[in-house]
Symmetry: C2
Subunit: 220 residues, 2 copies
């Protein structure tokens, strides 16, 4: 099988979200063109994305909403529940704990760790904070680790997460992480997203295409 | 000028972050191969990314760290400060207010809005919460709006943000937003990132490539 790109997987998530909404509204079939339009892509792209995983839909009739929903849930690993550990009981961590959508989609935050000895043993967001010094042993049975620690601490934490045989990491630290190839990492970097916006404001949204006349600023 | 891809812009942010660290450590020049290696990409990619914006570096000598830093800051729109409004004074909003990196990089959250009348007028994270009912007028002078409201409220908020002539939006609501072409939107969707991880756990990390034998689940 061809390696499936991250952007295909992201679109599958978007398709699934739309299908879930439509199912709630009582829609039972959907043309690929309509699915594409409502997800901001093309029908050809939808068909290509799905083609990696089998044959879906019926020519002229479109997709069965419940069948495609079920297939996408299977592809995305959402037919089971996942045990998630949160490392770093700070404000980002608190926001994640409060984020109802996680639980709704099968991701249960079942353990929380922090480096601050004063906080270890205290209750926080319904869980007791554990010490993060011995993650290697305390992450047994955890599927996904959320790393919400300062950038300077992140790689050290991640090394211990990997040693605990956790193979999926959601990283909120603004730093690049080195992990073995069998470990999947997704980084949520809000500063980087903001820089994408300031880039757009300076270079595109103003319509001036200023950079075309930028001199070779640092030659020599 | 060729349209610069979002992934190029994201890599420029990563390059800048590395250069800033190296400058703090006293490094003054850097080979493109070393920049590439430490950012997890190739030297050819680094050169291609930079080529959109001019000619940088000197053959055999590499890049001047301070000059490339300054050029990247200019390209990314980080040589000035940006006025940011936060819409939605919830937990995600609180995490963002506490995120020191935003201010350090030139993004000042100068106003906060909420739909809850009981909260309007109260102090929150050092700002007074304003009512979000008249965003069209109260967003004067704002460069970037952060939308941290429930999915069902997001498009309505965004319509008013656009009417206020704000041209950059950082969206935390798990929904697709319709905006005019001159408005830049970045969405931070943590549920989607988690689904990318569960996909990896089911389909890749276990090494079984299970999907190759998946039947055509919803044909017919």
């Amino acid at each position: 099988m061809k390696k499936v790109s991250e952007s295909t997987i992201a679109r599958l998530s978007v398709y699934l979200r739309l299908l879930t909404e439509l199912a709630a509204a009582g829609v039972t079939t959907l043309a690929s063109g309509e699915l594409a339009r409502r997800c901001g892509t093309s029908a050809a792209q939808v068909r290509k994305d799905l083609s990696f995983f089998g044959t879906f839909g019926k020519r002229g009739l479109g997709y069965s909403v419940p069948e495609l929903t079920e297939a996408l849930r299977g592809i995305l690993g959402l037919e089971r529940r996942w045990r998630v550990a949160l490392i770093g009981a700070g404000k980002i961590g608190a926001a994640l704990m409060a984020y109802q959508d996680f639980r709704r989609q099968g991701f249960d935050i079942v353990a929380v760790f922090d480096a601050d000895p004063a906080r270890v043993g205290t209750e926080w967001q319904g869980l007791v904070i554990q010490r993060d010094a011995d993650l290697e042993t305390s992450l047994q049975g955890i599927d996904i680790a959320i790393v919400a620690v300062p950038a300077s601490a992140a790689q050290g934490v991640v090394n211990r997460v990997v040693a605990a045989d956790v193979r999926a990491i959601l990283n909120f630290a603004p730093t690049k992480l080195d992990v073995p190839e069998h470990v999947a990492v997704k980084t949520v970097n809000m500063a980087l997203e903001l820089e994408g916006l300031s880039y757009a404001l300076v270079n595109e949204a103003r319509g001036a295409r200023r950079v075309t006349s930028r001199p070779a600023a640092s030659r020599g």
